[in-house]
């Protein structure tokens, strides 16, 4: 199925809208039509905001007719992960707990995208409360990988990645706590960036693990990622952890020039645990960058083996508190049979949360409970410091760290659901980036023999998103092959 405009990037659409080659309405209608035609197979969307999207598009077109300056995302059709607070529609976090929940406010990121004249098509699926790596933990539906409908799209921003890969939107807003943008981006062949912790306001992002969560875009190319960051980054008085730092024009970093760039290759990332095909594609990508004048240097991240353990202690501890508010008092699910207070809590929570969420709440409660705090939580925060220091030292020798995003391409449904620990281990390369608060970007670097996308990850110093984007863009423009499109209709 050919779909005019749907295969375009955000910056291409914006330019066309600004030039008057197309109206935002036409672009939006094209996307809505494709969603109706295709999403029955992919199941990326949880809400389609037909009228709302067209109204937003019409406002953009009206603005153009009136001669006003158009925003940097004018007419760009965007989908939002189910945990982004919006006044429009529902904000369910793909949980039974929040079915029907209507947020009384738009999150800061949503406001900024709207101010940049973007068009919201609707919301997309995710693992319940962003807990998962396959989107199989959604209470709403099962999202498929457009490259192979028998495979997971990754998670937790699986709906975002699938929607972008299947051209069901131009870009999608995800959130990343331990790899939830980068891993699905890798498995679906998109670009996904997790900005430095503090770059993007978390106000309006339903919290999973507050010290690790960060919002970022999943896009079709690196330029779109830069463009989107231009719109959403910057200090927000509603988020005390948003950093008061000037936001550069990220698109200006896309120079194509990586001469003399020092690329660090962590020896711990290229072990036997890394699948052969992924290794091969990542190594080929390194050669492309070398060919462009970049230098490579071996670096070491000696504590990276401890990252998953530290991560699951910290994120479950924070989650156990963050999710305590879902008690059926002010919003959310309340069990109809609850007679007394304790019954209201226990029955509502037990029935409202899915098994993975319950498991993480229990783990987090355990590691914080009396007698265990020092052994788990405190210890994990010390290890977090060691992991950050590893990166600090690595960045004395290099400008950007390069490695795989995931050990292997997309896995099949049910493959890892039986053993939660097995699922946790699939986040091995992405998690330490969150622990160290660094910016990380995943971009496609080839297809596996079975036609599944493979992603590579770039990591930079705090607030050095420009280095990531410059490197990724240089590779993307010179990789010498076309990723093609998923083999759907």
């Amino acid at each position: 199925m050919t779909a005019p405009w749907c295969d375009k990037t955000g910056h291409e659409i914006r330019e066309a809208v600004v030039r008057g080659d197309v109206t935002a309405r036409v672009v939006t209608e094209a996307h809505l039509a494709r969603i109706h035609a295709l999403d029955g197979k992919i199941d990326a969307y949880t809400q389609i905001w037909e009228e709302y999207a067209l109204a937003m598009a019409d406002r953009v077109d009206e603005k153009r007719r009136s001669g006003a300056t158009l925003g940097i995302l004018a007419g760009v059709p965007i989908s939002l992960k189910e945990l982004m607070c919006t006044k429009q529609g529902e904000t369910t976090c793909a949980s039974k707990m929040l079915a029907g929940y209507r947020s009384p406010f738009d999150g800061t990121m949503v406001q900024r995208l709207a101010a940049a004249d973007a068009v919201f098509l609707g919301k997309v699926n995710m693992d319940e409360f962003a807990m998962g790596s396959s989107t199989e933990n959604s209470a709403i539906k099962t999202t498929k990988n457009p490259w192979d409908l028998g495979c997971v799209p990754g998670g937790s921003s699986g709906g975002s990645a699938a929607a972008v890969a299947a051209d069901l939107c131009s870009m999608s807003m995800g959130s990343d706590t331990g790899g939830s943008i980068r891993q699905p981006a890798a498995l679906c062949g998109c670009v996904g960036i997790k900005p430095t912790y503090g770059r993007v306001s978390r106000f309006g992002l339903v919290a999973f693990a507050s010290s690790l969560d960060q919002i970022g875009p999943l896009t079709k190319d690196v330029r779109d990622a830069a463009l989107c960051l231009n719109a959403i980054c910057g200090r927000d008085p509603m988020d005390a952890t948003s950093v008061d730092l000037a936001v550069p024009d990220f698109t200006a970093a896309l120079t194509g020039n990586v001469k003399g760039l020092r690329i660090g290759l962590p020896k711990e990332y290229f072990t036997d645990a890394l699948g052969a095909e992924v290794r091969e594609k990542v190594m080929a990508a390194i050669e492309v960058l070398r060919g462009l004048g970049a230098e490579t240097v071996e670096v070491s991240l000696p504590h990276c083996d401890y990252a998953i353990a530290a991560y699951y202690i910290i994120c479950t501890a924070e989650a156990s508190a963050n999710l305590a508010r879902f008690d059926g008092v002010r919003y959310g699910f309340r069990h109809p049979d609850a007679k007394d207070m304790r019954g209201m809590y226990v029955m509502s929570k037990s029935a409202g949360f899915g098994p993975e969420v319950r498991r993480r709440i229990l783990l987090g409660t355990y590691v914080l409970s009396s007698g265990y705090y020092d052994a788990y939580y405190l210890k994990a925060q010390k290890v977090r410091r060691l992991i950050k220091q590893d990166f600090d030292e690595a960045f004395e020798k290099c400008d950007v760290v390069l490695g795989p995003t995931t050990p292997s391409p997309a896995f099949r449904f049910g493959e890892k659901t039986a053993d939660p620990l097995e699922m946790y281990l699939s986040d091995i390369y992405t998690i330490s980036v969150n622990l160290a608060t660094l910016p990380g970007l995943s971009l496609p670097c080839g297809l596996s023999s079975s036609g599944l996308p493979i992603g590579m990850q770039l990591i930079a110093k705090p607030f050095a998103e420009e280095t990531l984007l410059r490197t990724a863009h240089a590779y993307e423009q010179n990789r010498g092959f076309d990723m093609g499109k998923p083999p759907i209709a």
Binding site: G198, Y306, Y312, V329, L362, T365, Q381, V383
Partner: protein
């Protein structure tokens, strides 16, 4: 031998206000046991002189000025509540002195 027992799972569930049937308890004894055993590998690291990273950022003193802004209209505030009247959120009877 699992890292934790059923009694501990029950205790933690009580703290978290979750109820578990017997099968779930059995399963969690193993799942949580495996995960906690995996977490125990941190003990291999000597972290004696390591400052815990209690805050993600180095920033301090991020405050707001003492200004009154807009509150929500009451209907908006109550709109999502499973049970409410015109003025209040309604919950099952709260026993006197029950709070911490």
């Amino acid at each position: 031998m699992s890292r934790i027992g059923k009694a501990e799972v029950e205790h933690v569930a009580g703290l978290a206000q979750l109820e578990l049937d017997e099968a779930a308890k059995e399963r969690l004894v193993h799942e949580m046991g495996d995960i906690l055993a995996y977490m125990d590998q941190l003990n291999a690291l000597d972290t004696t002189n390591v400052e815990p990273m209690m805050h993600a950022l180095e920033m301090t003193n991020v405050f707001r000025e003492d200004c009154v802004g807009e509150s929500l209209p009451r209907e908006e505030a109550l709109r999502n509540a499973p049970n409410h009247d015109e003025e209040y959120f309604i919950v099952p009877k709260i026993l006197e002195g029950g709070n911490a």
